[in-house]
Amino acid sequence: MKIHEYQAREILRNAGLPVPGSEVIDRSDQAAAAFRKLGAPKVVVKAQVHAGGRGKAGYVKLIDSPAEAEKLAAWMLANPMVSKQTGPQGVKVQKILLAPAVDIAKEYYLGVVLDRAKRTPVLMASAEGGVEIEEVAAKNPDAIKKAWFHPLLGLQPFQAREIAAAIGLTGDLAKQATDIMLRLARLFIEKDCSLAEINPLVLTPENKLLAIDAKFNFDDNATFRHADVAALFDPSEENAAELRAKEFNLSYISLEGNIGCLVNGAGLAMATMDIIKLHGGQPANFLDVGGSVTAEGAVEAFRIILSDPSVKAVLVNIFGGIAKCDVIADALIKAAQQIGFKLPVVVRLEGTNVDIARKMLKEANIPQLRPAADLTDAAKQVCAAV
């Protein structure tokens, strides 16, 4: 689960990290007052959206008057932000952060993630802050210093001191940095994060370290035990169809193509997208109906797939294990009655109760249904149909 920058700053602030004061607004007529309240000659205005690429898109700007703040806020709220990460339709800006511009002597990077291979959290730090860490990792991997730490013992002060030294911080700055690292590592564990990142961590000319941008991602599997984190969820940042799917225990991801997919199992769902591509088609979605799918759930899955106007044909690929083929057949028949198929639906069924399912579909005699002999045949048929 992702959250907004203003929420991330709040988490850091509550954990005792040095974060400059800021104001959050959701109407442009609040901008001038927010500017004055900050009491700084120059203010940074930042759109609060999850997508990256804000700076390049013009949604992070430096201004120096209340009037400018209001004008800029009005523009940001009125125009959806389009960046590399948003797709051409862009994302609507609903909240704006205003923060005093900070004089910067140097920028650092600090982040905590899980190292999957080592199965333990790792703190990463770099003296090359202010740019994407992936960029640093690609161009100059030696510039990233790492400290792996025990999930129960946490990051140890001696580790933090070693990292501070490694990125060139000495004396009082090393002390400040050590404190920040320890608090960030503690937050990562306490809140079940998958990413806790300060970028940049800024060194001011007055020799103070300040966190001026932050990013947190949380483990979706753990939000059940963090009511405070769950409360930060912003449904307006999510794809509406994906949210609706979640309500029905379906795992759905919208893609760019025109062949809708309905599959049981995440691996098979990915493999189904792959085989469509292999035969020259483009999948419109990833959809895993899950093992304990009911006919109602599967009908809803059809509804979601068919609500995508770019879908021109559907491939149903079920390997019945715990999910039974007859349940899917029942759902196909119900979907045909309740929603109606105006496009070809290629059906490949195998596994538990497949014979019952095939018989049911044969008797239902739905003209748009096209049975497939196997997976390759299914992929070929559906690609030929669009």
Binding site: R119, A222, A266, M270
Partner: protein, 294 residues
């Protein structure tokens, strides 16, 4: 022969009185698995609907049934703890089916299990099956083909559930028996991984070839490729799911995500091919590809 489990494996089910636990205990019993009891805190001293003894905790279950393996259906919030309890009680192999276990719980539980030398399969997995002998998990038993002394044999390792069934089915259809199939699970932090299992299959005299099924996310397949190059003489056929998956999106499985340019299907396929492994372009030709090497 087989790896991990066979007809002598004695299994309990943690969460046996829950809906999923009860259903799959029945399926495992029907397959012939030696299910010897179950654990549900607060229901000790009763019998399950299958007539098996229910215990309050794993310690009692181990003492009373001499079980060595557990099949866990405990809900996500308590699943890691259930695994640690089993390990402390003396269980040798833990099969953790539960989906949605918090990642940091698994980080901690895995350290605990490693300290005790206990093996874990999962979480978020279909389980382990040695066809014809022992099924510990949720896979449909009938798609598998038991070793019969005549058929060629294959061992299967996979991060996915239904995609494993797909591979198993293609093998069975072509007359290849499976020594053991292990679904290692779709989470980023899990128990047994490719390398350990590749080693076990390499050392199992009955296994003639190995099928490994991977997907996007992490670098386990790349590490497996290195390992195979150095240590595996038996033919390995692979399929990697997720070539068409967009970066930054979690594709159903918690571990199936391409992040920061790492974990792409192309990188995995390239590493496997560089190690001389036959990688299938299509999930429909796993059996066909195997036929060329077995």
């Amino acid at each position: 022969m087989s790896i991990l489990v066979d007809r002598n494996t004695r299994v309990i089910c943690q969460g046996i009185t829950g809906k999923a636990g009860a259903f799959h205990t029945r399926q495992c019993l029907d397959y012939g698995t030696k299910m010897v009891g179950g654990v549900t805190p607060g229901k000790g001293g009763t019998k399950s609907e299958h007539g098996l003894p229910v215990y309050d905790n794993c310690y009692q279950a181990v003492r009373e049934t001499a079980c060595d393996t557990t099949l866990i259906f405990v809900p996500a919030g308590g699943a890691a703890e259930a695994a640690m309890e089993a390990a402390d009680a003396g269980i040798r192999l833990i099969v953790l089916i539960t989906e949605g276990v918090p990642t940091l719980d698994m980080v901690k539980a895995r350290k605990y299990l490693d300290d005790k030398g206990v093996l874990l399969v999962g979480p978020n997995c279909p389980g382990v099956i040695t066809p014809g002998q022992c099924k510990i998990g949720i896979m449909p038993g009938y798609i598998h083909k038991p070793v019969d002394g005549k058929s060629k044999t294959v061992g299967i390792i996979s991060r996915s559930g239904t995609l494993t069934y797909e591979a198993v089915w293609q093998c069975s259809q072509r007359g290849y028996a499976q020594t053991t199939c292990v679904g290692i699970g779709g989470d980023p932090v899990k128990g047994l991984n490719y390398i350990e299992l590749l080693g076990m299959f390499e050392n199992d005299p009955e296994t003639q070839a190995i099928v490994m099924i991977g997907e996007i996310g992490g670098t386990d397949e790349e590490k497996a490729a290195d390992f195979i190059k150095q240590n595996v003489r038996k033919p390995v056929v692979a399929f990697i799911a997720g070539r068409t998956a967009p970066p930054g999106k979690r594709m159903g499985h918690a571990g199936a995500i391409i992040s920061g340019g790492e974990g792409t299907a192309d990188s995995k396929i390239a590493a496997l091919r560089a190690a001389g492994i036959a990688v299938c372009d299509s999930p429909a030709v796993i059996g066909e590809t195997l036929a060329k090497f077995i």
